[in-house]
């Protein structure tokens, strides 16, 4: 059954959704080894909404994330990002779309040879029409926003796991994304740091009006979600929020 956000029911225009997925199917392999990982998935996320996606490993969460993140070619069904159809989109179009998507990975995936400021600026450098200084200032501001104003010149090597993940968040947000995808951002963190990182992520995404789709296994952070989705065997279900 298609999952509809509350806002949709309030009658907002369909095109205003950050993500709009319908009838999405995906297979891996070919011939006899062909295996379906996504079955007729439908999903919509509004700007500013934080949606958490849980489910057992191997159920297709990451596949969905890569499809929505324009990292993979859509095989069947429709994925619309900011109103643009991804099905049939070429490499260049997907690359252009990815500039509007912030991504936060399980491992921080920072560039080892860059300081935290430079790492964040790699995100800010994607913005067009801004001078070098402006982009650098933005990078610094974002690092301050994630509480790392004193660690501008440190290499990832010298930062703790939580700090690295915060740099990654700053980098993702520095590109001013309209959509933020996060794959288990707290997996490598202890519970307190994980909590802090997720709260920060939510607050900053809110301020930017940025939609968030977060895959997580971590039961302690489920309450940050506006909406909770559960995936099993390639099918998506809505789940009741358990606040508390």
């Amino acid at each position: 059954m298609p999952i509809r956000p509350k806002s949709f029911e309030r009658g907002r225009a369909l095109t205003s959704a950050a993500i709009s997925v319908s009838q999405l199917c995906h297979w891996y392999g070919s011939g006899t080894t062909r295996r379906q990982v996504l079955q007729r998935v439908a999903l919509e996320i509004e700007p500013g909404e934080v949606v958490l996606l849980t489910g057992p490993s191997g159920c297709g969460k990451t596949t969905l994330l890569t499809l929505v993140g324009a990292l993979r070619q859509v095989q069947e069904g429709s994925v619309r990002l900011f109103g643009e159809e991804l099905h049939g989109a070429g490499r260049a179009q997907r690359q252009q779309l990815r500039r509007r998507i912030g991504m936060i990975f399980q491992g921080h995936n920072l560039l080892r040879c860059l300081s935290s400021e430079q790492n964040v600026q790699m995100g800010a450098d994607l913005l067009e029409g801004l001078g070098y200084r402006a982009r650098r200032d933005q990078a610094r501001e974002w690092l301050r926003a994630v509480g790392l104003g004193d660690h501008l010149d440190k290499l990832p090597h010298d930062l703790s796991g939580g700090q690295k993940q915060r740099v990654a968040i700053a980098r993702a947000l520095a590109a001013k994304p309209a959509l933020l995808l996060a794959d288990e951002p707290t997996a490598a963190l202890d519970s307190r740091t994980g909590r802090e990182v997720v709260d920060l992520l939510k607050r900053l995404a809110r301020e930017q009006g940025c939609a968030v789709l977060m895959v997580t296994h971590d039961p302690r952070i489920l309450d940050v979600a506006d909406r909770l989705l559960r995936m099993e065997d390639g099918q998506l279900f809505s789940q009741q929020l358990q606040v508390g």
Binding site: T62, L65, T66, G69, L71, R72, A92, Q95, Q96, L97, R98, R99, R100, I101, M103, F105, Q106, N109, L111, R112, C113, L114, Q118, Q121, M122, G123, D125, L126, G131, Y132, R133, L155, R171, A175, D183
Partner: protein, 397 residues
């Protein structure tokens, strides 16, 4: 309007980004040092091999360059300075009929055996015979000393000959009478000149044609090995040479001075393995450099593959990332060339003092080696880029 290049530069400066290629290289100092050592090594190898090659060819015409001449006459059988065939002297005299010719100098040229007056060993020496009154070299000091040769059995010894000919210069400067045998005939050193050893001759001496006949009893007085022809100022040597060649019988070859030098260089280039050996040496340096740079860049790209994939996921173009690898190659080329150039200069100086080979850092070779290093680094970068195709942003989640 005049400011536009400046404003263009300023806007480029404003649009600049994190110098990723530079940081990738410099934040891994050990790898960078290995890469630069490899490139510099390859560069030095190329500098040395090409330097030796050109130096040897250049050294083969040390004496040729000194002649005061525009056009020369040679025997058609002559193909190098170590085997000069003779031709009739009257052919040279005939050229005087040409309105452009203002002077001629007949020269005898042969390699004779010189006995080291100290150690009594013999060694082949290039012997030039000319009429002491005639102009021979551009450098006038030889002509001034030529009157010393009017006496039979006197020679001018080249002080820059290799030391194997004996301590002639030292003895002469001490005021001793230096006598020795050339081709079994006694000669006395009447003076010193400064010419320089060439590839075909370790030493040189100059004497009068008359003495030359005595040193080579078999040779006919009417035959010479080289005819120098001086033209009036403004005459086109190439055209005169062509005209003379057409007018003269085919028992002589007419060449310009440059053609004479080229004939000698061509001999060493084609009749010996020198050119091949040293070019091969330079090619080896190139290949070694390619392998090193390729290894370094390939492992660098491989090590950073997840990071490149992350950048692609962030929306960076593949072309932009290929550009990063290309810039790494470019930086390596420039950074590796500088030490190679400096070391090349030093080694050339060492070679010059050690072997008297005229090996200099000529701009053409400097540019050639830089081009080779550039091709080496950018080619390796292009090959290493193929690895970037494996960076799949979908795999990093």
């Amino acid at each position: 309007m005049r400011l536009s290049p400046l404003t263009a530069l300023a806007s480029l400066w404003r649009a600049r980004r994190i110098p990723l290629a530079w940081l990738l290289l410099t934040r891994q100092p050990v790898r960078l040092a290995v890469a630069l050592a490899g490139i510099a090594f390859a560069g030095i190898l190329m500098f040395m091999q090409l330097g030796f090659r050109d130096g040897l060819f250049e050294a083969s015409v040390t004496v040729h360059k000194l002649f005061d001449t525009d056009v020369v006459l040679l025997s058609p059988r002559t193909n190098s300075s170590i085997a000069m065939a003779s031709f009739p002297r009257r052919r040279l005299v005939q050229t005087m009929a040409d309105p452009d010719v203002v002077g001629i100098t007949p020269v005898n040229w042969n390699l004779l055996l010189w006995r080291n007056p100290d150690k009594r060993t013999t060694r082949s020496i290039l012997t030039l015979g000319f009429e002491p009154g005639d102009p021979l070299f551009i450098d006038a000091t030889v002509s001034e000393k030529a009157r010393l040769l009017t006496q039979l059995g006197r020679v001018l010894f080249d002080a820059r000959s290799r030391p194997e000919f004996g301590p002639i210069e030292a003895w002469f400067k001490q005021g001793r009478t230096v006598e020795t045998e050339v081709g079994g005939t006694r000669v006395r050193v009447a003076g010193l000149v400064s010419l320089g050893a060439s590839f075909g001759a370790d030493g040189n001496m100059i004497t009068s044609r008359e003495t030359f006949q005595r040193l080579m009893p078999g040779s006919s007085p009417g035959s010479i090995e080289l005819g120098l022809i001086r033209l009036r100022p403004g005459a086109d040597a190439a055209r005169v040479a062509k005209r003379l060649q057409e007018q003269l019988p085919p028992d002589v070859t007419v060449l310009t001075k440059a053609g004479f030098e080229e004939l000698e260089k061509t001999y060493w280039r084609t009749s010996t393995a020198i050119g091949f050996i040293f070019t091969l040496g330079a090619a080896m340096g190139f290949v070694v450099g390619c392998v090193i740079v390729y290894q370094i860049l390939y492992s660098d790209v491989s090590d950073h593959l997840p990071e490149y994939a992350t950048l692609m996921a962030m929306g960076y173009k593949l072309a932009g990332l290929l550009g990063v690898v290309a810039r790494e190659g470019l930086l390596l080329a420039v950074l590796g060339y500088l030490p190679a150039y400096v070391a090349g200069q030093g080694l050339y100086a060492l070679v010059r003092s050690g072997t008297r080979l005229p090996v200099y850092m000529d701009p053409q070779r400097a540019v050639l080696v830089f081009t080779m290093i550039l091709v080496m680094c950018l080619g390796s970068a292009a090959l290493a880029m193929r690895r970037l195709g494996d960076a799949d942003p979908a795999e990093i989640f």
